[in-house]
Amino acid sequence: MNKDILICGVGGQGTVLASKIIASAAMEEKKTVHSAETIGMAQRGGSVTSHVRIGESYSPLIPHGSADLLLAFEPGEAVRNIKYLKKDGVVIVNTVPTDPVGASSEDNSYDASVMTDYLLKKCKCIFVNSEEVCKEFGSSKFFNIVILGIATGADVLGVSFDTVQDQLTKRIPQKFLEINKKAFMKGYEIGSNAQI
């Protein structure tokens, strides 16, 4: 079965590792995979996306209206990218906003609840607060692994728990493996209990 997964966020949030893990897990399960990344200027704090397409596909980018799953590392970016989502697609979204950098923060910061309310109106959502779930790991940098856990737990990733976990072992240096596995499990639990 075909599965299109769009990962979006702000440059520096670790979206690329998440997409690599999904792609290699799908390959491990003998599925055809294609993916595409934002590389270049935008990596410096701009909006970034990774497109993962499991199954036969032609375009390197997911067409609008075709994604089964949107993994959003930032609420504003989720809204920016829901045009890619299928009508019955699922969004897993971090509710903690990243304010755009600017001269003075007041006129640039925005209200994350406007974004989450909008998402709720438009599609099936799982909301997570990255700061809360990552607190025990000491840094929000583990959110990319948490979100993979959530998608696996909610059974919307299209690859199995075991293959994803194998990929973590393969891709993450020994030193950080234990903590990443914990982050994955934490996400998995959240995902398993999520109502969508």
Binding site: V10, G11, G12, A23, S24, M27, T32, V33, H34, S35, A36, E37, T38, I39, G40, M41, A42, Q43, R44, G45, G46, S47, S57, Y58, S59, P60, L61, P63, H64, G65, S66, G76, V79, R80, I82, K83, L85, K86, K87, D99, P100, V101, G102, A103, S104, S105, E106, N108, S109, Y110, V114, M115, Y118, K122, C123, S139, S140, K141
Partner: protein
Amino acid sequence: MKEYLMGNGAIALGAMAAGVNLVAGYPGTPSSEIIETLSKYPHEGLHLEWSVNEKAALEVAAAAAYSGARAMVTMKQVGLNVASDPLMSLAYVGVKGGMVIVSADDPGPISSQTEQDTRRFADFCRIPVFDPATPEEAYVMIQDAFEYSEKYSTPVLFRPTTRVCHAYASIDVEDIYKPREYEGFVKDSKRWVIFPRLSYINHGNIEKRNVSIAEDLSSYGFNSVACPAAKKAIVASGVSYSYVKECLKGNTDVRLIRVATAFPFPESFMLEALKGADEVLCFEELSPYIEEQILKLSGRHKLAIEVRGKLDGEVPHNGELSVEIVAKILKEYLGEDIGLEQIDVSDSPGLPVRPPVLCAGCPHRGSFYAVKRAMQGKKAYFCGDIGCYTLGNAMPLDMVDTCLCMGAGITMAQGLDHVNEDATSFAFVGDSTFFASGITGVINAVYNEADMILCVLDNSTTAMTGHQPHPGTGKNMMGNIVDKVDIEKVLRGIGVKTVMTVDPLDLKKSVEAVKDCASLKGVKAIIFKSPCIAIAKPSGKCCVDSEKCINCKKCIREIGCPALAGTEKGVSIDMDLCTGCGLCEQICPVEAIRDLEGSRS
């Protein structure tokens, strides 16, 4: 073995499968990962280099190809402009070993100054060009490109676009790299020394040869036609072909013609492919090259066919194509709905704009800010250049008044100086760009008596394109440690009398250096030296003492570091982002920012 490869990786391993002996290039998005991939696979017997610029790379490779070796050059499309001087001549001289010039185009443009089309360059130089649509194709096609190059003794262009370069696919690749055997350079001045007479003769030969290549390419497997009986035809090339296929999924009543070799245009293939068609719609990014060729063909052969595409306004000239754009145009053309059902987003709330910014702790921020501070209230012009530091244009720094092409900042500062006597002209150039095309500009300034201040932002890497080494870093792509070319010595050697080296994260000293230089005549240079934070270990972390912070937000307003955030209670620092560079510390008027205890090793 199966490898999950980026299009650029596929090009790299495809070239290895072709036994390439030498690869040279200059980094540039979207082409940089080709050479990086090569360096990561076992490649004993391959000479690999980041050259100082594209012209150097092409000349190095040309001589290897004269010797019978297989050579590849990699660059982005604007790099081909730099390499065009040797390329135009090389097209007349030709090669012996296969030589492929990879020039990656960037429709959008996403990370480039121009939307130029390498296929036009191929036509301009009269040499073949290959245009892959996917990473899988790129792996095979690059090998074909070497074959054609050798068969016709001509350099060949290879033109992927960003979406092909940066797309990943799983590809079956050769396990072992076997470099080609070759004869070595054989002296033959009638062949290798370009003279007007040689160019005259070869020009004639090349035009004749191109007719044969066009014939040959007419049966090339990647030039294909599906459903040849349909009255309505579509022509597509490169990634546009993938978009059309995505849109046509399942629809078999339209004739789909794919052109993978735009020049020499495979005329007999196209004549055959268009037979019996009433209309043809062309999808191609950048320029309407194939469309023009078809128009020419239909004129010469008096075809009763309507040619549609960019020239009649249906397909946009600028920007990249996408499944959405193609689907919309195809809907009109075919009269059937092929788009997907979408969520209605017309009521979307306003979204934050996120222009790219310098990283938290980037030393360039300190350099720009020091110049800004030193020149406050004085008239000054700031000429920027190509690299991460182009981002110095963003608010609140706002320190880039011009940016044109690699190395231009240095020479443009001189032009500004010569006609604007009341202002001080500055040029900002990165270390890699300085080596690529800055040095000649400085010599020009010294010789022609410009008054200017050159700021070399030396962060010991080529940051924007993914941190490649360069002559100042002391490392090369053969994995060797080599002597560093010292920028300060270079500047002194070419006649710059005042050269200062400062740490851009030391605000006071940096401001003083700028002020000192501004009071002198002639060409002055300041080397702001501090490593790119993306490759250096952060020195620690800073934090805000909320008792002391008076919430004036001066730090945010002045330098705009992404780690600084304003809250109602005062400024806070994001510990995940802060590198402890200390710049904000030096700006805070009440000393509320300090090192986080124990964070410095």
